[in-house]
Symmetry: D4
Subunit: 208 residues, 8 copies
């Protein structure tokens, strides 16, 4: 791939030792590394050997950025409906940053208090891609998708309870969005949203 | 019940003959009758004997109103997200009217074009109850519920396809609404929404 | 909103520190605060700084009521089918109280022993709103809804096992209720039921 | 099996010719035959050759009873919640009759108007088995199961729409019944209910 | 009810203190008590005050039998498909015993080794009711139901993994059984099976 | 592939014209052709041009066999639980025949009358592969799988109604089979079963 | 919006008269119109008044293009797994064309014959966006997503039967894709895929 | 069965004591034993008495092989899509080995990087059976099934999150595979895959 583009380790279901071992082998051939779904103990084990590694606590992402992967100034804007959606949003945000994109965050602007969302309206169209992170009824993706003429990457989250069925309600909402220009990724998949935003931006650059 | 309050026949799964027979027997003891989910042929059979019967075509409701059931001037406001939701909305609206309520309709104000919705904003708070009818992602209930301090009766519809799963997406959306003051009825249940709105209004009157 | 109307924190998925911090910031601008889904340790941390805070143990609600939000004498009646539904009912009851409503409780009157329910029959119509909390087959909402001419807020609970599928059985039962005047909220959502009851009552007052 | 016990043909998915052929071959070795889920055209084809065959129109059952299968005077009582449940109830009732049981029917006594149900209360305990047929929320099985000390065979029906999901709501309700002594059969399975009632009654006789 | 018929406490979701308190209040008015889904610590707390209380370890049932509830010699036969189904079977068996029935057990006779099942064939017809407990594919209920002319109470269990979906596979199997005379109770509901078997037997006695 | 091995057209969702056109183009390069899920009208259109084409009516398979694809004498044995499963079984059987295998059929040997199944016991082990076709509770695959030491290809069918959920019950049963040596294909996928049986047999031949 | 950008009518569930009326009103203010999910009879009614209207038969799209909406030469590449996916793909393709994009089509390159897919490999990277349309197991999106560094819009289709559950299998596959850069739209939503591809391309242009 | 063929204990849901006891009783009559889903503590308890017992750590299989069960040289090839699928694959692999088959392993060759898979292409056809283990979208089974003319045993795993629904996505993918010659076993059922592969191979040998 491109210079500086990160290799990624998905830590869920791996032991600290396994992650550290994979981290080493990747770090030999790559400048930048991401480890997602990483607990504090994974970060500490990585940091012991790579002191420049950073840890995003809510997003649970370990990142090693030894070379900045410059990607033009196109901006990824990450929105959440609630505060409980922030971990997923931070996974998306920090991954986007390591992939070389400028990231802006607007959190807790869910549709039940829609005036808060509109206060940020003029920021929306300046972004190259919007990542909309929402649980419960997931309505934010539709509202935002209807407001902007920019690609919306919709990330349903498992935030909620009861008839939320672990994210099913937000997922179905987003898939059925009547707004144009919305693409959906898996429930809680912040990394996947960042990867889709990245390829959208780079596709735009490549084809000029 | 109260004077003039309608008796209701649910026609789905009944033959024309069965409906007409039930209609007769109800019409002997009641002034007003509603027949929901009624096809054109049911209306014609009823009208042959009760020329004053009316038929709401999109709502598929036959109504016989021989005595107006006066219910104060509290208003029921019925909103839809799309035009395909209108049949369900009309079922709710015409049932509300026969139950003695003034009804206002605002159709096709879904969240993908939210400016249309806001144009009607000042009408919302003047209503005693809002009935919000929406299919697909069903986000309208949350947005409206967040805007008003009035009870919202949310009616998911089976409008949509694919991951809509016959109304499941809108249903789950509405049940997971992060807005306060939203009560949900069954998918496509316009009559049930009218009945809930009716009892809400009458409870307010009764307890003054 | 109105004087004394509480601000609410939903504690599920938040740390003690996060809740305390939000509690502080809300307590600066509001007289009354509710924290739902709050463990004992959250209560203790809040109480350390707000000694007048109270804790409803089964309902897991922390409340701070510095100004009583007087709302007329209209009563909310909370019923449960079983004892295991009491936590959800208490969430509804204590939230209703802090919202300024008089609350009556009738617990453990499920339909399998229907004579117990009927013993309380004359209390039902005196309420402005009934909140019916039931798990397993959730039949109580239909039976009560058929008995009264008062709005019923139906709260399915996740109480049960097996083919209950975490509350799905009660939820579907309540959505399919053949009784008139039933509005459904999310599984286990005691707070949401209180919020819907509150807006129903206040809509009645406002529009007189 | 016993003298006169019927052989049964399940007609759904079979052609008229196939059913007639099976009917013939069974009629050679058995005195009594049932054909369930049989359309009018099947009845006519059977009747052409077996003029004594009878047809239950709502239950869609063809029966040939050439020898009465006497089974003591124990009674099967069939109840329905609504009128739309009658076809399933009639399938159960006519099958029970051919199996040699006295059958009583009480239809349209759903829980939304529970006083109608109670009017029949003294008939319940005189039955050997109750077959309770209900769609929508299926609550009748729990209410009846709580009232009687007699086995209840619960038959969920697919009557309803929306969140009924073709009978799932009634099925889950009945499986989660908090009443004691309820056994559930498949959705719309009137014949299966009759067969279970039959073996319950005969087990009682056999073991005296 | 009848002399000696047990009152039952469902312990799941209750604290030791709550169970003990309910136990006391029931023990004042009843001779026999059952507490199902009871952990060892509940048994110990009960036994401290009722030394004659017994505990069925796999079935997790505490029982207090101060008066034998004699019920004729009709036998309940409990079968399981696997060893992992034994806890549910024991719940059914011990409840049946306290209800006054003679109980026989045949465990681990699943259909994958059907010769083991047939070895017990002559015991089946001597029972008044069979309780068939099976997880995974739940096929035992159909096979046994086809072999006997005795009521079969089918208890699906949550034993299994993957596409078992917590007992859904066995539940659906049993509901779709093509054998005659099978009634289904909730997943893992050993008590419910015993209660249905009990009422079936007593109905037979009562109506002689 | 091998000489004479058929090319296959899946007709569902294709017009007669489309199928005929594909048939032509395949018939130019292949000796043998199968068209599955083919209605009578497709057969007639094919036969008009290929008079040697044959049609299996219940299986709805058009076959053109211009060269016999000899495959040793290893036998495929196809079993069904009921008569309604025969169409799926015939699809499997005729496809197996055109693929060059000797096929034996044993139909209507479901587990509710297990003695019928055992009457055929000695035929089972002589087969190279068993294809077991069953709807409703799908128990036949487990019973047969437990009896034989031969690969069992299990085909759930959509035969049934209600809690069968279009074949889900049989599918889950077969996936959860506690018998060893069972591989499952899609609901109603007779062709897929034949294709799996074919590759199992040929793998055995190839590797000798 | 931009000059020439089409307005769209979703015809499903609308009568010919309704569509024609909406078509008229849109045609007054817009140069280009799309009508999706349109039957032949809708096309004929539109064409009677707008002779320049075109009809894409498999895609069921009526289009009126009175002004070409020039959008640079960036190409949308539409792939299908099977021939039965072509209607959805054509909906996507014709909508993309009217939106002003050059479209290439590669159909019937599903993963079961992966060499066919690879034959087109060098065309993939030249596209600005890939629309991958697949039913059944939906694996094509993952395979293509892994091969290219271009945004992939994944469209699950309802093509298949049985455990396909009307497109659920392909939908879940695509949402769980382990390939980077895949965004999913609703089942069978060819128009939505085109709209997402369009905004991705225009976002790239706009932000240069 | 054959000499040396292992008896199997499924440890999930059994205590260490129970497993050890079953192990003893089996070890008296059998030369070889497998214990699947066994934790480290089970291994230690077994090893204390059978020092020659071995433990496969990722696969969680205890094996005692006192006599090699020679099965010709036909090879089972086990593939996984990701590293997280290895535990299931190892369960399959070690069970196959104890059943007397030569086993080759190719791990982490998922379809998102399909060149890695193709690097192993020439190994595929040399196997007698392929066991393909994959979670998430489960596409590997289709791709491999399309490449080879050898039976593919597809094992969906619960690896993934969100819309994976505990393995449902991979399960449905594999059941809907458009490749020929794929048989599916339960989610995470490595043992079941080995058992199916075993009977496929032995069927081939037996029938020569
Ligand atoms: N949070 C995430 N969710 C889903 N996939 C991820 C996530 N983080 C990383 N990945 C993917 O997982 C791959 C690495 O998986 P593994 O080889 O199991 O560590 C990366 O190449 C990413 O495509
Ligand atoms: N559209 C509707 N959806 C659900 N319930 C309805 C509807 N219309 C009428 N009902 C209810 O159906 C009852 C009449 O049912 P029935 O006795 O079957 O005609 C009425 O009392 C209403 O409560
Ligand atoms: N038990 C509850 N269930 C659902 N929503 C709740 C509950 N308690 C509070 N809420 C809502 O959650 C909001 C606060 O959420 P948060 O900002 O995440 O603390 C409140 O304004 C309420 O609308
Ligand atoms: N991982 C597994 N998944 C499913 N079934 C298994 C597994 N391991 C062993 N078995 C089966 O479980 C049976 C033993 O079960 P049990 O008698 O409960 O120990 C064996 O004969 C195998 O057929
Ligand atoms: Mg947009
Ligand atoms: Mg509101
Ligand atoms: Mg009422
Ligand atoms: Mg009872
Ligand atoms: Mg039987
Ligand atoms: Mg076998
Ligand atoms: Mg890619
Ligand atoms: Mg193959």
């Amino acid at each position: 791939l491109r210079n500086g583009f990160p290799e990624v380790i998905f830590c869920q279901g791996k032991t600290v030792e396994q992650v550290v071992k994979i981290f080493h082998s990747l770090a030999e051939k790559n400048r930048n590394i991401l480890a997602t779904r990483a607990g504090q103990e994974i970060f500490e084990a990585v940091q012991a050997q790579y002191p420049e590694a950073k840890y995003n606590v809510p997003g649970r992402v370990v990142s090693l950025t030894r070379e900045h992967c410059k990607n033009s100034s196109r901006r990824v804007l990450v929105l959440t409906a609630g505060t409980a959606d922030i971990p997923v949003a931070e996974e998306a945000a920090v991954c986007s940053e390591v992939m070389g994109h400028e990231v802006a965050r607007i959190y807790d602007v869910g549709v039940a208090g829609i005036h808060r969302l509109f206060a940020y309206y003029d920021k929306f169209e300046t972004a190259a891609v919007l990542i909309v992170v929402a649980g419960m009824e997931g309505a934010l993706a539709s509202v935002v998708g209807g407001l902007v003429d920019v690609p919306v990457v919709a990330v349903p989250t498992s935030v909620g309870y009861g008839a939320n069925f672990n994210g099913l309600s937000a997922l179905l909402s987003m898939l059925n969005s009547c707004a144009k220009g919305v693409g959906v990724v898996n429930i809680d998949n912040g990394f996947g949203a960042a990867a889709l935003a990245d390829v959208i931006i780079r596709s735009g650059l490549k084809h000029v």
